[in-house]
Symmetry: C2
Subunit: 136 residues, 2 copies
DNA sequence: CAATTCACTTTCATTTTGCAAGTGAACTTA
DNA sequence: TAAGTTCACTTGCAAAATGAAAGTGAATTG
């Protein structure tokens, strides 16, 4: 869908990411999935940035359409929906770590812990491995 | 300005980047500055994605407010304005390269040349050095 | 079986976007 | 030197996206 030429503005790689993730909210959902262990609609709502329910629903739908997340039912309780990163979604990890690195450097008020920011500079591969392991 | 707590939604590092660059257009301007040697208003207008003049003016202003670019006059012709990346802007390069890597992998129609995509996987530091050198 | 929780959907006012046209300063041509 | 032309924007307006709040329906709990 994102890949057909009528829909896309171009096939520049920067633009390709923007078509899927280029707005103020989508990457925050990826962050919650990747770093905070969140998996449910209600959990995403609780983040500091206070996303509205309609925007969250729209973004989850688009992420699913772009195969960055998959939606399933919680095996333990039929009602609850679970959202999880696909392999394509997990592949965003290096981007997320570089973003964290940049913001830790340029935001004087960053909430990135100093020791994590330091480890990020020297040990990115090990951090990535840890985070991927935590996602199973 | 972006750093004051009334304005920002949070000081999460992912959010910090989104506050400065989180929309469908801003990163394309950074791309043009970083990879395509573009420096002038009229040059940004010519990209494939066809940004409107009012949106371009607004994004350039915001990038300047966030100290990601600086605006100056062309020393050779008094009238023309030049836009250039600051050090903070150049620090976005690792993010841009990771984005390129991700899109080259996941966009079947990517216009990233295969040899560049290959070199990106093995030789990211050398590519980064080349690009920074080209920016002076 | 009534109340609550969860995951959305709908409504609607406000904000942002995008196209087109307009403006003004410098520069080029007749 | 007067008349375009180019460049870098700004303005106006219709259309689309956003955000707050309320509503809906399925499951779960008391």
């Amino acid at each position: 869908m994102v890949n057909n030429s009528e829909h896309c503005r171009s096939h520049c790689p920067i633009n390709f990411l923007l078509e899927a993730l280029g707005d103020k909210w989508t990457l925050l959902i990826v962050r919650d999935l990747m770093f905070k262990g969140k998996k449910r609609f209600g959990e995403f709502l609780q983040s500091d940035e206070k996303i509205a329910t309609n925007i969250l629903a729209a973004r989850l739908k688009k992420l699913e359409e772009n195969h960055i997340i998959i939606k399933s039912s919680d095996p333990e309780s039929g009602s609850m929906r679970l959202y999880q990163l696909t392999d394509k979604g997990k592949d965003l990890l290096p981007i997320m770590l570089e973003i964290t690195d940049w913001s830790a450097k340029h935001d004087a008020l960053t909430n990135t812990p100093p020791d994590f920011a330091e480890r990020l500079k020297t040990d990115k591969a090990a951090i990535a491995a840890d985070i991927l392991a935590a996602l199973e």
